[in-house]
């Protein structure tokens, strides 16, 4: 029977990622509590588990690396060594190597950095390194060349307390017998006491077995592998004259040899799993998701209820009478309830707490503090806030950039901070919370804030604004999100990696989110990222444009107003703005976006005469408002966002499509993307478009 364990590789890798993350968190916590045994035990266990599993998948480099790491950790937790900053630093770097080795697959060579670290670690734990050398060595069992039958006499004298180890002597004898043919088995009963004195928990018996076998003596001895401390075992080859050397030479039945013996099994296993591991590599490792069992159980319940509701409905339809109608309604309502809950729960499966993401940045901040000599710490709140898994993955890069920015550019050196009357240690905080149906992630620091004068000079240098442009502080600050902008005088390898804030903004916009920046000189900066709960489902406003139905994400809709001709002002060439409560909002005719017959002010008049007044749906795109001209509002419903890209190329201004109740496909407008398309023909003035209406206050008049 071949048992293939490669299917567990994926689970091992996911689990190890968790172990690595908790090691990292543990090590960072260890800095302020270097004697915390519980922390050390936890870190040790993580390394130990990785090592234990890695061997099963032939990840030899990983086994070697974790082995020395484990020795070091063992010394720390037994207080033979102190967790000094140097040691913690080595361990943190080891964590990086673990990550690499885990991702590198089975037959990865040990990278130079890892070898170097290994040496450093072995330098710290001199005696244990010898073990590492021994481990991979192969200790082969003596195998008989000639398959000749030998006669053995095996004496087995167990200690009285043999049973305390859970050993059953009959099993041992049976195993021994299986190795050959037993010609004789003597049971020695001379130690048996009188029945009155007999303790059934003690073993008073011993045996002598005569056995004819093809096996080598070591194989016989292996039967007693686990009881060598609990029994006296004598094995004699009865006819030693035929094999003068064999008996003493191969009979090295010391516990040491036997204990080392299983190591010889490593190679074949490693080779076997290695080839399989390669196959599983291609399956893609990011494609899996871990779900709490309770969530799955609830789903199964719901599906059960749904099946019941379906059966009920089907029965009623089979033998339908008008009197059944109320019951049918009820059944349909139950199905609807179940479907909606199922929907929510299925979406919930994709939701993961942001804490997993936040955790990484403690390390980032630590590293930057080490390099720059600044003092700072990362504070987190709302780690339990759940967010769609795919968003979590896409958020990783923008957030790391923002955290780096805060640590590298925001927080000042201890001297500067002291001079400014602030605490020497700077604080960067990461917060996650819900706000009106969206998730907000805030990265703030209590650092220097953004120097708008520097921003202005830089922006002029880069040609982003003219030398005489009049921009207020907020507008100046927003300039850092423009492509090709970097205010840091010298590019450090920490944050100035050529990835600018524009990339942050672009990534967030890809997630249909918005970025806002708030900063005060000398007090600090806060970047808020606002994201929809999930990318897969949204509350939509269905509108008609010509004969088409479009979906607008309801969250970006501020209000809907009937469009009166006198409200529309034509600016310069073809740009139109609508003036609502003295605010000018650029108008975008969706018919034009869809490529339908162009509508103009005159067609507006015509349709107005016919009693069909057009409407402007005022939407929020980032911080600006635009008015989308539509013919009719059809209603509001939850829609499932389907990607278009599998079928079409990427269409700017659309985030996808959905299938409506009647089976029609309706495109879903990406408001931010649409605004960026600039179909207004003329740019509205900066001033107006920057006016911000807090979405919480807006009336979503539908």
């Amino acid at each position: 029977m071949k048992i293939d364990l490669s299917q567990f590789r994926q689970i091992f890798l996911i689990e190890s990622e968790d172990h690595v993350a908790s090691m990292e968190a543990g090590l960072l916590a260890l800095r302020s509590a270097p004697d915390d045994i519980e922390l050390l035990n936890g870190i040790f266990r993580s390394a130990h588990s990785i090592k234990g599993g890695a061997g099963s998948f032939g990840m030899t480099s990983l086994v070697r690396f974790t082995h020395s790491l484990e020795s070091l950790l063992d010394r720390l937790r037994t207080s033979e060594m102190q967790a000094t900053d140097l040691v913690i630093d080595i361990l943190l770097r080891s964590v990086d190597q673990l990550r690499y080795l885990l991702s590198a697959g089975a037959d990865a060579e040990m990278p130079l950095d890892a070898l170097e670290l290994n040496e450093q670690i072995d330098g710290l734990t001199p005696s244990d390194s010898a073990l590492a050398e021994v481990a991979p060595e192969e200790t082969r069992l003596a195998v008989l060349d000639e398959r000749e039958i030998r006669l053995y006499t095996v004496e087995f004298r167990p200690d009285r307390n043999l049973f305390s180890s859970g050993t059953n002597p009959i099993v041992l004898l049976r195993n021994l017998a299986a190795l050959g043919t037993v010609s004789c088995c003597h049971l020695h009963t001379e130690d048996l006491p009188l029945l009155a004195d007999l303790d059934p928990a003690q073993c008073y018996l011993s045996w002598t077995v005569e056995l004819a076998s093809l096996c080598a003596e070591a194989e016989l001895r292996e039967v007693f592998e686990f009881v060598d401390h609990l029994a006296e075992i004598n094995i004699q080859c009865v006819d030693p004259s035929r094999h003068p050397d064999s008996a003493p030479a191969t009979v090295t039945g010391t516990p040491g040899t036997l204990a080392a013996r299983p190591a010889s099994n490593r190679s074949p296993v490693a080779a076997q799993t290695k080839s399989i591991a390669k196959k599983t590599d291609s399956n893609g490792e990011s494609g899996s998701i871990r779900v709490a069992i309770s969530k799955v159980d609830r789903l199964i319940d719901l599906v059960g209820e749904l099946v019941i509701a379906h059966v009920m409905t089907a029965q009623m339809v089979e033998s339908f009478e008008p009197s059944c109608l109320p019951k049918l309604r009820e059944a349909v309502a139950a199905m609807e309830r179940n479907t909606r809950e199922l929907h929510e729960r299925v979406m919930g499966i994709r939701m993961l707490p942001v804490g997993t993401l936040f955790q990484r940045y403690t390390r980032t901040v630590y590293d930057i503090a080490q390099v720059t000599g600044k003092q700072m710490r990362l504070e987190m709140s709302g780690e339990e806030t759940e967010i769609d898994k795919s968003m979590l993955e896409l958020l990783g890069d923008p957030l790391i950039h923002l955290v780096r920015n805060a640590a590298d550019h925001g927080i000042e050196t201890p001297e500067v901070r002291e001079a400014a009357g602030k605490a020497e240690e700077g604080v960067i905080s990461l917060r996650a919370f819900h706000r009106s149906g969206r998730i907000v992630i805030e990265i703030s620091d209590d650092g220097a804030g953004i120097d708008t004068e520097k921003v202005r000079i830089k922006a002029i240098q880069r040609g982003l604004i003219g030398p005489d442009s009049e921009l207020d502080d907020e507008q100046l600050r927003m300039l850092i999100f423009e492509p090709g902008f970097s205010t840091c005088e010298k590019i450090s390898d920490l944050s100035g990696r050529g990835v600018g804030m524009d990339v942050v903004r672009r990534n967030v916009q890809q997630l249909h989110g918005t970025v806002a920046l708030d900063s005060e000189r000398g007090i600090g900066s806060t970047v808020s990222i606002e994201l929809p709960l999930t990318l897969a489902i949204l509350e939509g406003l269905l509108v008609r444009v010509g004969d088409r139905t479009l979906v607008l994400p309801l969250l970006s809709v501020i209000e809907t107003v009937p469009l009166r001709n006198e409200q529309i002002v034509r600016v310069a060439e073809q740009g139109e703005v609508v003036v609502i409560r003295e605010e000018s909002i650029p108008l975008l005719r969706l018919s034009r976006f869809l490529g339908l017959a162009p509508e103009t002010a005159s067609t507006d008049r015509a349709s107005e005469k016919a009693g069909n007044r057009r409407l402007a749906v005022i939407v929020e795109a980032g911080k600006r408002k635009i008015g989308l001209v539509v013919d009719e509002l059809l209603g509001q419903q939850q829609v499932v966002v389907k990607s278009l890209e599998r079928h079409l190329r990427k269409v700017d201004g659309l985030m996808g499509a959905t299938i409506l109740g009647d089976g029609c496909v309706a495109p879903i407008v990406d408001v931010g993307g649409l605004a960026a398309l600039n179909l207004f023909a003329t740019q509205p003035t900066f001033k107006v478009s920057q006016q911000h209406v807090p979405s919480a206050l807006s009336a979503r008049a539908v």
Partner: protein
């Protein structure tokens, strides 16, 4: 069907050992750590326990000691899951009442052989 309990805080290790045992025709009960194992042993005995040694909440050695105090488990075999090089641990386990050991990383066939070695 004979019941084997596998005690390990590592999910992958538990699943691998569990899978191997099921392939070998055993019923498998999983426990996350010593305390979990003790809880699951209340009222139902198993034919064999395979346990990791390094675990949170209750480690393997303590588990073995506790199991040996339980009348219905007093003489049942217990195998330790150990990594090489930790000879002292192995000795501690033996002293606590372990029947034998399986070395990690384990070879599935060898694991079943070892189980056969201690199970009546």
């Amino acid at each position: 069907m004979r019941k084997v309990m596998i005690v390990d805080d590592s999910v992958s290790m538990r699943q691998m050992v569990g899978y191997t045992l099921r392939q070998g025709g055993f019923e498998v009960i999983e426990a996350e750590h010593g305390q979990d194992a003790m809880d699951k042993l209340q009222g139902s005995a198993v034919d064999l326990i395979i346990t990791d040694l390094n675990m949170p909440v209750m480690d393997g050695i303590t588990l073995i000691e506790n199991v040996r105090k339980q009348p219905n488990m007093k003489s049942k075999p217990i195998l330790m899951l150990t990594t090489e090089g930790l000879a002292t641990k192995k000795e501690q386990g033996k002293a606590a009442g372990a029947t034998g050991w399986i070395v990690k990383p384990f070879d599935p066939e060898k694991l079943l052989q070892t189980v056969a070695k201690v199970l009546p």
